[in-house]
């Protein structure tokens, strides 16, 4: 593409913002005995380097699972091992068994931050650049602006480079998966997505849309001919990639079971801490976590999750399209976030990634959602002393979106993709003409509430009787916003008439 230098500039801006955020504090900095996610990652390097594979997921005198035991799939463990080898070369004290617990120093921080940057640079950022370049029907300038907005999304930057995690790896692999599958490189796409799942099990939130889309493609090609061949090939790819990743753990049944037990801690309850999903918000009114027995909670969350995502998935199987795929990714991930079991507030990033992908289709709603998603993590970010970078990156993101997409001029029904929906409603209610007005007012209310809550949380002290008042309020308000978005995205999917007519086109 002719404007390569502008794209390079955009990537450099993204990298600069990332590295400046990484100058700040990280999760659990200077807070013994448990510290935080940063110490967890360091500890995993220690475990994977010093212990044999068979002991990584098991409780032993050398590996106390209560102190940040491994609870991600094997790829995370391999990545930690790789980082550990580099750490050994620079300073073995960082990963010495037992003695390196709670190790903190500027040099170590520099090393850890560098590992995040390198992983990001190798996996996530190229995927974003390639995705933006492959977008159809928009000008080069808009593609570059799109890349800038995606790279400036504050949520991912603050969690990966502030709090400290490696979400860019799993999200990057998932994005490669989306790219592959959208461009009809189904096998490569599935392979990439399997790698994503094997890096973080939360990527399973995206698995249903992938499954439905590929299944739909197979149906389209005819189950008696090419479709069947594709189905078999995909199944083989998936199985092969899983076997490859889990090879050391397939030797014994006990190994596999233990890993699964670590990945899916079903006895930890419906939710932990404050998270902006239905169960936590409902718990404010009625303490369902304590009232209902554990297995009922499981069944209830399972039912709600699948009921809410079923319509979109069925539509995707029947009418597979690239656009439908992206929107179904959003709605499925959002359903899982709102209704699923043991959801953490950081899982909102799994919804944010697909929303970033539809930024060019519905800029106004996407920007709104991405702002709310960053806001929903406010309590976590404040705990990590990331207030300044949060505010600054959110404002930068907002300015980038406003100037790139002129989002406030794109609030008509047509541009919000709600035209077919409002036409259907108008057959029953002829006076339903003010949909876009309502949405604009809702946006205003939402933003004002978020700003007010942020100010209150930062400046005021909560009352003594309700020490978690502000966190709960943040979660509650975010949850309401997310419910609205769930309804909105499902409406778009179900009322999307374009694909109904053109059944021949896949993308």
């Amino acid at each position: 593409m002719e404007k390569w230098y502008l794209m390079t500039t955009v990537v450099l801006i993204g990298l600069t913002v990332r590295w400046t955020v990484s100058l700040n504090s990280y999760s659990g900095a200077g807070k013994p005995p448990m510290f935080g996610d940063y110490e967890a990652q360091r500890h995993w390097q220690e475990i994977t380097f010093n212990l044999p594979v068979k002991q990584w997921y098991f409780n032993s005198s050398d590996n106390n699972l209560q102190y940040w035991g491994l609870d991600y799939p094997p790829l995370t463990a391999y990545h930690s091992l790789l980082c550990a080898y580099v750490a050994k070369f620079i300073n073995p004290d960082w990963i010495a068994l037992h003695t390196s617990r709670g190790y903190e120093s500027q040099a170590h921080k520099l090393f850890m931050r560098t590992t995040v940057l390198i992983a990001d640079l190798l996996i996530y950022i190229p995927a974003v650049v390639l995705y933006c370049c492959c977008l159809k029907e928009i000008s080069t300038k808009k593609k570059i602006a799109n890349a800038l907005c995606i790279l400036l999304y504050p949520g991912l930057i603050l969690i990966d480079y502030g709090h400290f995690q490696y979400n860019s790896v799993s999200l990057g692999f998932a994005l490669w998966g989306v790219l592959g599958v959208s461009c009809d490189w189904d096998l490569l796409g599935s392979l990439a997505f399997c790698l994503a799942i094997n890096y973080k099990q939360m990527e399973l939130y995206h698995s249903l849309p992938f499954f439905c889309f590929l299944l739909g493609k197979c149906f389209k090609k005819g189950l008696k001919g090419k479709g069947f061949v594709l189905l078999v090939k995909l199944a083989c790819t998936v199985v092969a990639s899983f076997i490859l990743c889990w090879l050391p753990f397939f030797t014994e049944g006990e190994q596999t079971l233990q890993v699964l037990r670590r990945l899916f801690p079903v006895d930890r309850g419906l939710f932990e801490d404050k998270v902006a999903n239905i169960w936590c918000s409902f718990n404010v009114l009625l303490k369902i976590k304590d009232i209902l027995p554990r297995h009922i909670q499981l069944i209830m969350s399972f039912c709600f999750t699948f009921l809410s995502l079923l319509p979109a998935c069925i539509k995707l199987i029947l009418q597979p399209s690239s656009k439908g795929f992206k929107f179904t990714l959003v709605s499925c991930a959002l359903s899982f976030f709102l209704f699923s079991f043991q959801v953490h507030e950081k899982s909102i990033l799994l919804v944010s990634l697909p929303v970033c992908l539809v930024l060019s289709d519905i800029p106004f709603m996407s920007t709104w959602f991405l702002l709310v998603s960053t806001f929903s993590m406010l309590p976590l970010l404040l705990k990590d002393e990331l207030l300044m970078p949060s505010v600054v990156t959110t404002m930068a993101f907002f300015i980038a979106c406003v100037t790139s997409f002129s989002i406030f001029e794109k609030t008509s029904e047509e541009e919000l993709q709600l035209k077919s929906f409002s036409i259907s409603v108008r057959t029953y209610l002829p006076c339903f003409t003010f949909l876009s007005r309502i949405i604009q007012y809702l946006f205003l209310i939402s933003v004002i509430t978020m700003v007010l809550l942020t100010l209150m949380t930062v400046t005021l002290d909560p009352p003594q009787k309700l020490p978690d008042l502000f966190s709960v309020l943040v979660c509650f308000v975010s949850c309401l916003n997310f419910l609205f978005f769930l309804v909105y995205f499902n409406i778009i999917i179900m009322w999307d008439s374009k694909n109904g007519r053109n059944q021949k086109k896949i993308s």
């Binding site: 600069t16 590295w19 955020v21 300015i399 980038a400």
Partner: protein, 493 residues
Amino acid sequence: MAALTIAAGTGNWFSALALGVTLLKCLLIPTYHSTDFEVHRNWLAITHSLPISQWYYEATSEWTLDYPPFFAWFEYILSHVAKYFDQEMLNVHNLNYSSSRTLLFQRFSVIFTDTLFVYAVHECCKCIGGKKVGKELTEKPKFILSVLLLWNFGLLIVDHIHFQYNGFLFGLMLLSIARLFQKRHMEGAFLFAVLLHFKHIYLYVAPAYGVYLLRSYCFTANRPDGSIRWNSFSFVRFISLGLVVFLISALSLGPFLALNQLPQVFSRLFPFKRGLCHAYWAPNFWALYNALDKVLSVIGLKLKFLDPNKIPKASMKVQFQHTVLPSVTPWQRLYAQLIAILPSIFCLWFKPQGPRGFLRCLILCALSSFMFGWHVHEKAILLAILPMSEHFELPIKILLMLLFTIYSISSLKTLFRKEKPLFNWMETFYLLGLGPLEVCCEFVFPLTSWKLKYPFIPLLLTSVYCALGITYAWFKLYVSVLIDPPIGKTKKQ
């Protein structure tokens, strides 16, 4: 919604650029800062806690007040805001005090005063004509100039990482240049006079201002062939310019004249005898001169022309005693600077080309003064020690530099030379060589055995290499200015 649209700027690119860079500056708040941070904290304390009569005598800290009075007043005003952040920083005896609130206040003061710089850039953009309407935004000269000025990586690194107040000072200078372009000469002169009393280093470009104002403002008309018409001299204009300069100087130095402190003030502003022991070579003519001297002395030693006992040991210390080439005194350096700027001044006088010619002369004055000035920076010794915190900021500096370089090369190429490359093969080779040089100095050298014996080698290499480039650029610029026809076609700038 309409109000929000207007408030959001509806794609007003200048506001977006200015806001964007301000947010980036906010992100740079937690970076390390150099001793300049303590310098300015000290000056806040001095101006706040002590009466005027003590300002230029106070010497509790080694960082004494050595800027003209207007800057001292500026610090005084800032100190009245500072007391709401942290009262302790205003105590003269709190040396090296840097609480988080102090840091926040200082950083925000730089970011806030940069508003003047943003305004000045906006005024400069107005002076550039947009030749073709309907051209894409990223190719318009206004856009490119705004980006190159607002997102200038050198300014970002020096002001917002190391910590200085260059932003608003450059803003004053840019504003005065813009006023001269807009033919508002009195305002331009006024602004420059004010600037001089903020930071006297701008005296280097005062000749350009003086000659231009005299030639193109006081002499109101030219003869048809472009030479001076002596009878068009306007006494009114000359007197009013003089009055402006005099009044501002009176405002600035008046109080100190009344207190009989002028000699002390001047000794602080122009410390000719600076018995410093640490320095680094600015990449200018003297770097090459010193390097040549060193090379000749090494050769001389090998060929047994020189007595080894008379050679001073290589070290970080300055007051570089030249062994082969003649030593240069401060006065001789001053003469060299004056001689270097003379040709450009003559050019401005005999071949005036309006504001554009003035701008070129200003650049040449500044560059020539740099080429032959003796620059001493005490802070550079810290670079040899390389604290860990500097390693953290290194990627930021590299990223910002790459960002700026890639953007400026590609956008300038779009503006000026669509088919030919921007640099010829020699220049390209030289610029590319900066990469390996930096890698050697930052990464390879610390791992070698020479680190302890000759710790100054990375600085020396960087200085000499950059000096070559800067000398080449200076030479090329000078030649282009001298050779240009007197009333040439207006080239795109």
